[in-house]
Amino acid sequence: MIIPVRCFTCGALIGDKWQKFSDRVKRGEDPSKVLDELNIKRYCCRRMMLSHVELIDEVLKYETYG
């Protein structure tokens, strides 16, 4: 739904790095390079980014409030 705050496995903070990661990958950069530069080293944390789908953007379209 939305990027988890921490890595499920090791507990490192990763939520704050999602926006940068997503923006740069969408611009066509190599995900592996972006992860290295964001200092996300372990594969447990890397999969948090690589496998994430920001579904909340889809849900927001159907907001019924206001």
Partner: protein, 284 residues
């Protein structure tokens, strides 16, 4: 008893790498486990939702808030630790507030959390400040017109109770590697051996196989070199010497985490001795 020696290879605010010599695996593991699960930190534990018209349930938001690491300075930390150890955790609570109203689609970030002071008897914490380690953790996304208003209460707790109170993400150790080259000059065979090492610890030149001394600590003891040429090299380890790696979350400096872990471990051992003595006395 052996003399214990500690040598730091790296010591940064949020990362430490060090070698301890002269302890047993049991003690090394006790240090590791204490650092993860028994060093108290501050995390949001109770949330009062005033208004929530976002797409998330109150519970999801409360859960996400809990996982946001909160930073405190070391003086404040000492007071909080004392408070926790005296069993008065409900008397040293930090209050934070959050109020986000979206005029256009946006995100509520951890940076929107405002520190509103400590509640309880701990007046000496008046000058302290509690704030998220990072201001960029998204809590929830909002569509135009949606609103999130809440009060959050951060309490002191330990990782054993909930992972949100862990001060470190990684606290791990490995045995100190001992690599013995039995046959240094073994011609072309040696090249196969050097190439097998995934960490590049071995070098082969002019028919001679050598260790690169400054890289020895990187050895993972995978024994790929041993497999490639069993007669040439032997990999083993020293079970009284450990390489520790500790990566902090930024809540308190890692040096402080290790120090607190050791102190808590000693306190536990002391209370064990005390209980033991008491039970022996009551028997006699």
């Amino acid at each position: 008893m052996n003399k214990i020696e500690v040598a730091f290879r790296k010591l940064e605010e949020n990362y430490a790498e060090f070698v301890i010599e002269g302890i047993t695996p049991a003690i090394a593991n006790a240090i590791r486990r204490t650092a993860i699960s028994d060093v108290p930190t501050l995390a949001i534990d109770e949330v009062a939702i005033v208004e929530n018209s976002t797409v998330f349930f109150d519970e999801i938001i409360a859960h996400r808030l809990g996982l946001i690491p909160l930073k405190v300075d070391t003086e404040t930390y000492d007071v909080l630790l004392e408070c926790y150890e005296e069993g008065k955790r409900d008397d040293c609570v930090a209050m934070l507030t959050l109020e986000v109203e979206a005029e256009k689609p946006g995100t509520a970030y951890s940076g929107h959390l405002k520190f509103a002071g400590f509640i309880g008897e701990f007046a000496r914490l008046a000058s302290a400040e509690v704030k998220p380690v990072s201001d960029l953790v998204p809590i929830v996304k909002l569509a135009a017109g949606q609103k999130l208003v809440l009060e959050a209460y951060a309490k002191v707790g330990v990782g054993r109770e909930h992972a949100k109170w862990q001060p470190v993400s990684i606290a791990a150790y490995k045995y100190y590697p001992e690599i013995r080259i039995i046959k240094r000059e073994c011609g072309e065979e040696g090249k196969k051996c050097a190439d097998a090492c995934p960490k590049g610890i071995l070098k082969w030149s002019n028919g001679r196989l050598d260790l690169i001394p400054e890289k020895v600590e990187e050895c993972t003891m995978c024994r790929a070199c041993e497999e490639a040429c069993p007669e040439v090299i032997k990999v083993s380890w020293d079970d009284s010497k450990f390489i520790f790696r500790v990566e902090g979350l930024g809540v308190i400096p890692v040096a402080k985490v290790i120090e607190t872990a050791l102190k808590r471990l000693i306190k536990r051992a002391d209370s064990f001795v005390e209980t033991l003595e008491k039970s022996i006395q009551t028997r006699s």
